[in-house]
Structure formats: C-alpha cells, structure tokens
C-alpha cells in the first residue's frame, strides 16, 4: 500500500464528505430540520453544472454559481412547502416530505437529463499532478480549497456577524428570538437557501470526480448523516473533523480491507462513537 497516496485520497474524500454535509450541519444546527432530499439536490447540482457547460456552453466558473442559484431556488421551494411543518417542528412529517421530494427530484432529473451517465469535465479535472509516486488532479485541489474556504466563511459568519448571531438565536430558542423582534421565518428560508446553495456547490465541485448519474444521491445523504451525527449535531468544526476522519477511514479501509464494505464499516464506527460519546466527536451544548 502507498500510504502517502491513501492519505491524499483520504483527505480529498474527507473534504468532499465535509463539503457535502455542510448544508445539513446548518440545517440541523440552526433550524433543527432534516432534509432527506439532500442527496438528490447534490445530484441536481452536478447535473445543472453539467448542462450549463454541455448545453448552454457556459464556462465552468460560471456554471458553478448558476448551479448554486438553481440550488437556492429548489431550497426556497422546499421551505415554502414545508413552512407549516417547520414552524411546528414536526420532524417525522418533515422527514417523509423531504424523502418524497428527493424521489420527485430524481424523477424530474431522469426525465430532463436522461438515465445514462455523464462526465462532468472541468478545466481542472483533466489536469493531473504527479509528485513522486503520488497522484491527484487539480479538481482534487479545488475540492479541498473550496471546502476549507466554505467552512472558514461559515464559522466566521456564525460567530462574528449579526446574521450569524440571529441564526444562533433561532437555533437556541426560536420562540425567544421572536420576542427579540427576529423574523424567524426569514431565518428558516435563509437556512434552506444556504443548504440549497451549499449542496449544489458540492455537486458542482465534487461531481467531476466520478461519472454522474441521476440515480445518485442516496449514498451522499447517508454519508452526510454519518458526518453530521459523528461531528456532533450542528457543530461546524465537528462536521469538518468528522468529514476528514471519515475520508481517511474510508481510504485506508478500502486499501487494507475492501472498498465494498466501507459504508457498513463507517456505520459501525458511527455506532461505536454514539455509544461512547453520545454527543458526537465535538460534543458541546448548543453546537457550532
């Protein structure tokens, strides 16, 4: 086994996991909401980026923000449908509705984009870097950079800005936030817009690593679930660390044992962590 190569693979994979999960981290941390259509929104992010390039001839650097705008619109639409359930914090119904929404997204995407796999080529994904016996692409570098930037930006906004303070007020006690004159609905819409934009960004940046299919998304939502729970629900740094750990674990487990069993193994780790540290890796009341 080439240890250096596995570390690189693990880090790239880990940053992908973290980036895919960040929308959920905020969703769960601020709004106490779940979104089981998350994986399909990731799929849509990748396909919209692909279509923007292949069909509309946009350059990749414009296709990414385009895809994020579509992601925001999908997020808004979902929150519009869910708003009453959100305000009631009816988690079971939200789970079912979002799961259904994911299937609808899958169906629509299959109708629009077809069921065959596509390759999302970008100016970075085709450029390889060789360094001794190590290998990666510029797209891999882009994934790590985008993930780091998004996490730092999120952490900064949450801790230092008025917007972040308002989000934390709503996260702790939405009823009390109302008494502070905060329009809690707007915050919920904002959170869903962020979720939509972030997961579309993840699809646009990570999609190029593998062929994309409209049937993908289920693995992504499962991994997101593991990352968010492992990281301690709602904790930004926790998710980042959990993503990296899971990435390294997956890379080494795949190299040493078998790539076929990484998901069950990841769940075994999750179960073990939850039993030993019920709050997740970065357990801290209130999260962040």
């Amino acid at each position: 086994m080439n240890v250096g190569q596995q570390i690189i693979n693990g880090l790239v994979l880990g940053h992908s996991f973290a980036l895919v999960a960040i929308g959920w981290t905020v969703l769960l941390g601020v709004a106490r909401l779940v979104n089981f259509a998350h994986g399909q929104m990731y799929m849509l992010g990748a396909f919209v980026t692909w279509a923007a390039i292949a069909e509309f001839g946009l350059p990749y650097m414009l296709a990414v923000p385009f895809s994020m705008v579509v992601g925001i619109m999908v997020g808004f639409l979902m929150q519009q449908v869910l708003l009453r359930l959100t305000l009631k914090q009816d988690l079971v119904s939200i789970m079912i509705v979002t799961l259904g929404f994911g299937h609808v997204l899958h169906g629509v995407a299959a109708l629009v984009f077809g069921s065959t796999g596509q390759i999302l080529d970008t100016p970075f994904s085709t450029k390889n870097v060789y360094y001794g016996d190590l290998w990666f692409t510029w797209q891999d570098v882009a994934i790590v950079m985008v993930a780091v930037i998004v996490f730092i930006a999120l952490k900064t906004v949450l801790e230092k800005s008025r917007l972040g303070r308002i989000a934390r007020m709503v996260a702790e006690d939405p009823k009390l936030a109302l008494l502070g004159g905060i329009d809690v609905r707007k915050v919920y819409f904002g959170v869903f817009a962020f979720e939509g934009a972030a997961v579309a960004l993840a699809g646009a940046v990570i999609g190029p690593r593998t062929p994309i299919l409209t049937s993908m998304g289920f693995d992504e939502v499962i991994m997101t679930f593991v990352v968010v729970v492992l990281g301690g629900i709602g904790s930004v740094w926790g998710s980042y660390l959990a993503g990296i750990s899971l990435g390294l674990f997956t890379a080494f487990f795949g190299a040493l044992v078998s790539p076929a069993y990484t998901t069950p193994a990841a769940f075994l780790v999750l179960i073990a962590v939850l039993v030993l540290r019920p709050g997740g890796l970065a357990a801290k009341p209130g999260g962040h």
């Binding site: 303070r165 996260a171 702790e172 009390l176 008494l179 502070g180 004159g181």
Partner: protein
C-alpha cells in the same frame, strides 16, 4: 391621548379550555400596572396574549391596540418592532450567547421618536451586567438573568414593557433593586405591565393593580386602595404559601 396599550375582549383558549377572558384593560403612558393572582390565574397567559406569543398552542382573540393602533393581526416580531416588548416567565435570555451578544440585537435609531437604550445605557442601569459582559447567559444567576432580560427588552426601544414575575427566585434586596429600576424607567415615560406574585413588593411601585382569578379581572384599583383590600390580602397570603 390614547393609552399606550389597550386590550379589549381578550380571550385565550388552550384546546377547548378558555383560560382568559378580559373585558377591558388599559395602560397609560408612564404608568405601572400590577397584575396579581394565584398560580394558574392566567397572569402569564394575559401578558403573552398581548403579543400573540405562546410557548404552547394558545388561541388568542380580541382587540389589542398600541398607542391607538390595532396590532392584533400582526405577527409577534412585528408587534415587538412597534414597541411592545415581553420579558417572559422562565427562559428569558439566550444561554449559549454572552451577555454582550444578548444585548447586541437592538434599535439605536427607531426613527419615530421612541426612547432608545444603547448597550451602555443598559450597563449604567445594571452595572453588574457590565462586569459579566463576557459570560455566557447560562452562567448567570437568577437575578442577573432578570437584569439581562430587562436589558434585552430595553434595547428594542419599547413603548410598553410586559414583565412576567421579575422577582421570582430573587433575594429580597434584589427584588427591591429590580422593581425600583422599573419605576425609574417609567419616570422616563415607559409603561409597564408588571406580573408579580410578590404583592407586597409590587404594591410599593405600581400605580394601579389588577387581581386575576380564573382568567378574569375580579378587582382593579389604585395601589393605595388595593393595599387595604381584604381580597388582596388573601391573594398576598396565597402567594406566601408557595
């Protein structure tokens, strides 16, 4: 001039239970009106209903006017924006945020001539909060929480303040401090609806007092008259038994 706060035919139901039925209640400018009554009489329900706010599923109907303007159709945050602020019973501050962050959200320029309170004004009123400005809300004592709750509401440039049992769990000396601060604020023109179990302390600072029983106003009058009323003595003794 119309009263600052006016409630008319206000009723509240929880499921099929009607727990509040108020014919009329008004609060003039600079006035402190005390609301007393036994546990479960509907005191919290009353102040919460004025904002249309509830931790549970309260159904409110009736007319609520702030400075003559009907606000009964506005969402809670809009009523707060208009200058009606509540310091609720129980959890009244953000425990995961520092004192400073708790006070950060506020109006420095509401623009319609309302008196504003900056963070420094709040610290001047409650020096204890300034000392503890870096501490988390969850690390504060009961009295400090009440001060922070009042400070948080003041930052929103209130016209009327609804205070739900600010003395609960406080040492007698602190009760006096908090209530006297409330009195001072009224000298500045603020109007206060003060829910209190501590009738003795309340009667010293209020202008008028209302006795609630099973969701209805059963007695109402100036503080001086209420002091000698046997039913108030009864409610006051009831409060002592807690």
């Amino acid at each position: 001039m119309s009263p600052v706060l006016e409630l008319a035919d206000l009723s509240v139901r929880y499921g099929g239970n009607r727990v509040l039925d108020i014919g009329a209640l008004s609060l003039g400018q600079g006035e402190v009106v005390g609301v007393v009554g036994a546990n479960g009489a509907g005191k919290s329900t009353l102040v919460n209903a004025a904002l249309g706010w509830s931790r549970g599923a309260a159904k409110v109907s009736g007319r609520i006017a702030l400075c003559g303007r009907d606000i009964s159709r506005m969402p809670v945050q809009k009523r707060v924006g208009e200058g009606l602020c509540l310091i609720p019973e129980g959890k009244l501050i953000f425990g995961t945020m520092t004192v400073e962050e708790n006070l950060a959200e506020g109006e420095d320029e509401p623009g319609d001539g309302r008196r504003t309170y900056g963070v420094d004004d709040v610290y001047a009123l409650f020096p204890r909060l300034k000392e503890r400005r870096g501490h988390l809300g969850s690390q504060l004592s009961g009295g400090e929480r009440q001060m922070l709750g009042i400070g948080r509401a003041l930052r929103l440039a209130p016209l009327a303040l609804l205070l739900d049992e600010p003395s609960i769990g406080l040492a007698p000396k602190l009760v006096v401090t908090v209530l006297e601060t409330v009195r001072e604020l009224c000298a500045d023109g603020l109007s206060v609806l003060l829910v209190e179990q501590n009738v003795k302390a309340a009667i010293a600072v209020v202008d008028r007092m209302i006795l609630l029983e099973r969701g209805r106003i059963v007695l109402e009058g100036p503080a001086a008259e209420m002091k000698d009323n046997p039913r108030i003595a009864e409610a006051y003794l009831g409060a002592q038994k807690r």
